[in-house]
Symmetry: C2
Subunit: 378 residues, 2 copies
């Protein structure tokens, strides 16, 4: 269903997008402020991917860079639209819609900034179904739409076009090199595609899912209900289906460094139940793997999210602090993110992890059959 | 005068271009082989800058990267033409000629490869009047023609277009980042300009000068005359006018490293006259400064060239070896490379050297008046 998003929706959307950012994706608060400034009391048309024309020409827009830098280097707001215009000029074709390339973190907001600035609608879908650290980690690429040509705009009017044919990893590498030289943040337009491509390669309705999740958390808090149950209930009606509480405890150690344009690190959480258990989270922008006393309980591409214990407010890796009381949850990703091709692009091995992928619901001792029995299958 | 260059000219041209490379610019031997392969027994039209039409559309072509890498990563030959085509497509305009951006080293040859492949003529001029390590160190830029948009082609078909407006240092920085990710070498087309721009901003007739220098050295050797006197005589009829023998000795130490895409280092030469003197050469791709017992005897942008003692065969910094018997000569650069604007772009301070620029002929105790008296003024 096509719907309209207004500034009132942004706080809930930002909360949901932070959750789907799985610790990374940049802080959507900054993106939210950018949208608010441009949107005023207007609204943005959000297109349902099942309803768009086969030949609708879509140019996704995003920001790239290390979240640690993004927090300190706030964009002026026009850069993503500049990137869209560079790509339009390069292709000799005008965009009819924009779309997120990732639905977690600040990149759920950047296409909204572009939409507010240009009047373009936004397609309710994305290519990561969460946040990932690299531009090549896209279901778009996995299912045959490539990122090249990519357009990149810098804050001082720099314009770069990169075309590596079907080699999306090389595209990522070259765009990353430019972004580092630009001070750590660049704005991009890439993965130009048609409406038919969207239906074939994108994770559908992730923008509305982020909004629903953020709203469900808020409404549960307001009604003194459990926000975790609200998250679980909201997911049960989506392609994500399954949530599992992995750990509750106190952050006792956070080690992070910005290296080669990424924020990498490890966080340790001590159990609050007196069991002496520890959860170790390893991240590269996003949380990659959760180890409970050395045993893997969730691994990329499944979502591993850290939330403030009582309020269920999601916390990004750069927001992790010693002493925080947190809950760690795992969320199952859609089937199209778990195929062998998808896992080759953004499964554990793509991050140098030797642990094989196994769905969080299986690791947690719940089989697919249990899920079906519980009526959670779509 | 317009003339034609054939494969027979290439050995002399390569020798002269190595001399003008002042230790850097990459080994023209590889470029020479590329030209020979494409050219066969054909020839290339070389246009005199004074005779071209004001509106002739010229796209210079070049290779960028650390010479140390260039020697090991030999280009396939088509990359520079690919870069030219990328820039033509981006600008929506077809090149009517190509031109070197530097007249020293391999980049004297790359436009010839493009010419042989495309049938385009080559303008007898360049923007460095020697070799420099950075794309922003161009008389083109100093006198108002900017490098953007720059097109870069990689060996696997990568295409990149970079536009930083009038900021040529930013252009250099972004192109360098891409080149490093491509493995250390990239091929570029940049500084697109008209014939009128060439006359206003380029160092004229440096291609024919390189050829004359290489030929003079060879002919002197064949006639058992001093090749050093032949170099001096050849230069006296050009904008370069003045040559000074700075030092003769044996290479006793060479220290080099490839860092951030550049070959940086220091070479030490012990005097062969038994005086105990030492000459220290510091280089970043090219020789930057010559210190005789700590005293500066020549500094960038003047040319500092190391030649094999007897044959006067020029030696690149990556060709320097312990035990070589060498002569070090200084050559004065044209006046348009010594203006305050020019020195800001490629004088000592641009390389982080605190020593101010003073012409090699003055440092050598010969005043401009002596030069005029000797009939060497143009």
């Amino acid at each position: 269903m096509t719907w309209r998003l207004s500034a009132d929706d942004l706080p809930d959307l930002a909360r949901g997008a932070t959750l789907l950012g799985t610790g990374g994706g940049g802080d959507p608060y900054i993106g939210r402020r950018l949208v608010e400034r441009v949107l005023g009391d207007g609204s943005i048309e959000i297109l349902d991917p099942d309803e768009i024309a086969d030949d609708l020409f879509v140019i996704p827009t995003a920001q790239m860079g290390a979240p640690t830098v993004m927090v300190e280097k706030i964009p002026a707001g026009y850069e993503a639209t500049a990137a869209l215009r560079i790509l339009e000029e390069h292709l000799g074709r005008t965009a009819e819609a924009t779309m997120p390339i990732e639905c977690g973190g600040i990149n759920s907001m950047i296409p909204l900034v572009v939409a507010a600035e240009t009047g373009l609608p936004v397609v309710d879908a994305d290519g990561m179904g969460r946040a990932f650290p690299k531009l090549s980690m896209e279901t778009f690429a996995v299912y045959g739409v490539h990122g090249s040509p990519l357009a990149l705009a810098g804050e001082n009017g720099e314009k770069v076009v990169i075309d590596t044919g079907t080699d999306d990893r090389r595209m990522e590498s070259l765009a990353r090199a430019i972004t580092i030289r630009l001070g750590g943040v660049g704005h991009i337009a890439e993965y130009a595609m048609t409406g038919a491509d969207v239906r074939r390669t994108a994770i559908p309705r992730t923008l509305s899912m982020a909004l629903s999740l953020g709203r469900a958390i808020r409404e549960a808090r307001e009604a003194n209900r459990s926000p975790y149950e609200a998250i679980e209930q909201t997911l049960s009606t989506t392609l994500y289906r399954y949530m599992r509480r992995l750990f509750a405890g106190k952050v006792v150690d956070v080690e992070r460094r910005t290296s080669e344009g990424f924020a990498k690190g490890v966080a340790k959480i001590a159990a609050s139940d007196g069991s002496g258990s520890t959860l170790e989270l390893r991240f590269q922008n996003e949380n990659l793997v959760a180890l409970r006393d050395g045993e893997c309980v969730a691994i990329v591409p499944d979502l591993i999210c850290v939330l403030e214990d009582e309020s269920a407010e999601p916390i990004t890796t750069e927001g992790l602090r010693y002493g925080q009381r947190v809950q760690v949850i795992g969320i199952s990703t859609p089937d199209m993110m778990r195929t062998p091709e998808a896992l080759a692009a953004f499964g554990p091995a793509a991050f140098g992890l030797s642990e094989p992928f196994r769905p969080v619901e299986e690791r947690a001792g719940v089989t697919r059959q249990d899920v079906v029995d519980a009526g959670l299958e779509a």
